[in-house]
């Protein structure tokens, strides 16, 4: 069976992109590995053996989360034809957080032992992914236009996302209110988003596996995403099953977001900033973007997390959550984008 020229070009572009982006990502990984987390002050040196694994976990964790969030972001932006789409803004991250926090609350209130205790400790990935997928489907369903009333309105989608996110926020507050006093600190810290979550190796590798499984369909859909970025009529006339593409990619983006949330809590704006940066560098071809944006996300979050980790010895309160740093970068970035798209006025 011979492959079509389109598939061959896609494969060639993917390989080019991999070779271009893997190298800087690896370089940044080693750079971040050199930054120490000191009790007091800052340090720059290769880690001693007794801390090496923790530094690897941390930098790798940031890379995986950044990769997943940016891959989800670029997919959502393509499918929704909306450059402001991002798992955080559309409420997918908060939906996943609801799942995780409900599970956490269940695990602290469950007094029994045995396999249920084990499941509660290791099984967070299930509610995280379920929360993300349900929220994604809900936002998409609510923002969907009525038959015959044209395509999906970008601002309607954003508004629905913001409202669903606010509802999720309220549910999170209720869960926090229900939580025993002893675990409130854990829940609040979780909501601020940070890489150091003390997850078990099993949970970490489970999340990585889920992210890889979620990413593969997106990687293979670069060409379809290019066509899917056109109107539904145009895409269908060019042989793309838009409904199937949307369903597959939405689920993939949600699954990746849910798995990332397990490792870090909700970290905002990575999925917004990184696709835009890479679009400026490699253009709007999704065969390139689906490779470049996730690596850009990995690099961005590795650097942001290393900043908070490396400077922790300078503050008496320890580490600043990395979610705060990404929000401080991403919030203004979002406003600038919105401002530009609205022709100069919000």
């Amino acid at each position: 069976m011979t492959k079509s020229p389109g598939h061959q070009i896609t494969r060639s572009l993917n390989l080019q992109m991999w070779s271009v982006w893997v190298l800087p990502a690896v370089a940044v990984f080693f750079l971040c590995m050199m930054v120490a987390s000191e009790v007091k002050g800052v340090g720059f040196y290769w880690p001693a053996e007794n801390v090496r694994q923790f530094r690897v976990d941390r930098v790798l964790g940031a890379a995986v989360v950044g990769f997943a969030l940016a891959a989800a972001g670029v997919t959502l932006q393509a499918l929704l034809r909306n450059p402001l789409a991002d798992p955080y803004i559309l409420g997918i991250s908060s939906g996943s957080s609801v799942g995780v926090m409900a599970w956490l609350l269940l695990s602290v209130t469950w007094k029994g032992d045995g396999w249920i205790r084990w499941l509660l400790k290791q099984g967070q990935i299930g509610p995280a992914v379920a929360g993300a997928v349900i929220t994604c489907l809900l936002v998409f369903a609510l923002a969907r236009p009525r038959k015959g009333s044209g395509g999906m309105d970008r601002l309607t989608l954003l508004l629905v996302g913001v409202v669903v996110s606010a509802i999720n926020g309220a549910v999170l507050m209720v869960l926090n209110w229900l939580a025993p006093a002893g675990v409130k600190a854990d829940l609040i810290s979780y909501m601020m988003g940070s890489i150091e979550k003390n997850v078990t190796p099993l949970t970490f590798w489970l999340a990585v596996t889920v992210i890889v499984l979620g990413y593969l369909p997106i990687l293979l859909s670069g060409r379809a995403l290019n066509i899917g970025s056109l109107s539904d009529v145009e895409a269908t006339s060019m042989g793309v099953n838009v409904a199937k593409l949307r369903t597959l990619c939405f689920i993939s983006a949600s699954v990746m977001t849910g798995a990332a949330i397990i490792l870090s809590g909700p970290i905002g704006f990575v999925g917004l900033i990184c696709p835009h940066i890479t679009r400026g560098l490699v253009g709007a071809d999704h065969r390139k973007l689906t490779v470049a944006a996730p690596f850009c996300g990995a690099i961005f979050l590795m650097l942001a997390d290393t900043l908070v980790r490396g400077t922790s010895g300078c503050f008496s309160l320890g580490e600043l959550p990395v979610g705060v740093v990404t929000a401080l970068c991403g919030g203004p970035f979002f406003l600038i984008l919105l401002h530009n798209r609205r022709g100069g006025g919000l």
Binding site: W118, A185, N198, S312, F315, G318, E319
Partner: protein
């Protein structure tokens, strides 16, 4: 107005407060630690309202006490209905709600704003609670007994080594730093709080920093969870056993599951003794 706003620092003029219509003191307490201490000094009958976090400290007969809110917000309507003679709160002085002050002036109740930054504050608070509830001598006895017990513990462990201790109070790696009651408790238990080297309060650290603190004893706070079983093979310790520190090598990693340990009270000596036993195991 000034007379109604007292910090719990052992103000000598504070005496048993009575309700405007006469009768015994009617205390609304929004501070869990204060509620626990009122229970411990036998003044639970003075309580007419509590915070939503306090019911776990109350005896069976008092489980239905009205809840008036928490440290963050108060239900003023319910507060007025309860006709308190004293309202116990814990907040920074400038953050005392103006509405509460106005209400105190109108309804003639006292506001006791407690401070709980060290053990000295704790003893002052207990004595103040004793005075306002008409249990001054019970409070004095409890404080004197606690101080004596702490002196006994200090004497018992004074000639022993002072191991470096890190007390992790949440899974997000929040630890006990300096200038906290738990820091004092670790020192009274004959340990050296390595977490104080990071900073004061409850700093958040990374696993790498935890390794660099090089603790001889690692305490993991899991309030209200089942006690540690199977020694070091308790599955809740699995993640901590990856640390290459003396605490892990010498198997001095312990779960602290006592639900009240983070609540400053006259039970402090019992908690300090428990910590001392873990630290010097």
């Amino acid at each position: 107005m000034a007379g109604m706003l007292l910090a719990a620092c052992g103000r000598s003029e504070t005496t048993a407060s009575t309700a405007p219509g006469g009768g015994g003191p009617r205390i609304v307490c929004t501070v869990p630690a204060a509620t626990l201490n009122l229970v411990r000094i036998g003044a639970v009958d003075s309580l007419v309202g509590v915070s939503k976090f306090d019911t776990i400290f109350l005896p069976e007969a008092k489980q239905n006490l009205p809840v008036v809110g928490d440290y963050g917000s108060l239900n003023y309507e319910r507060l007025v209905e309860l006709k308190p003679s004293v309202v116990v709160i814990q907040t920074a002085e400038p953050r005392i709600p103006a509405r509460l002050k106005d209400l105190a002036a109108q309804q003639h109740f006292e506001i006791i704003n407690v401070k709980l930054e060290n053990t000295s504050d704790l003893w002052d608070m207990v004595q103040t609670l004793g005075k306002i509830s008409g249990h001054a001598s019970d409070a004095e006895t409890a404080v004197a007994g606690a101080k004596q017990e702490l002196a006994n513990i200090a004497e018992q462990y004074k000639d022993q080594k002072h191991p470096r201790v890190v007390y992790v109070i949440s899974d997000s790696l929040m630890i006990v730093g300096g200038e906290t009651i738990l820091n004092e408790m670790l020192m009274m238990a004959g340990g050296t709080n390595a977490g104080a080297e990071v900073g004061n309060g409850f700093p958040t650290i990374s696993m790498e920093t935890l390794v660099k603190l090089n603790p001889d004893v690692l305490l993991i706070g899991k309030p209200d969870e089942p006690p540690q079983r199977k020694g070091m093979s308790d599955p809740r310790l699995d993640n901590w056993m990856r640390l290459d520190v003396p605490a892990v090598r010498n198997k001095h990693v312990y779960l602290v599951t006592d639900g009240d340990i983070h609540m400053a009270s006259v039970q402090l000596p019992r908690h300090v003794r428990m910590l001392a036993e873990l630290i010097h195991k």
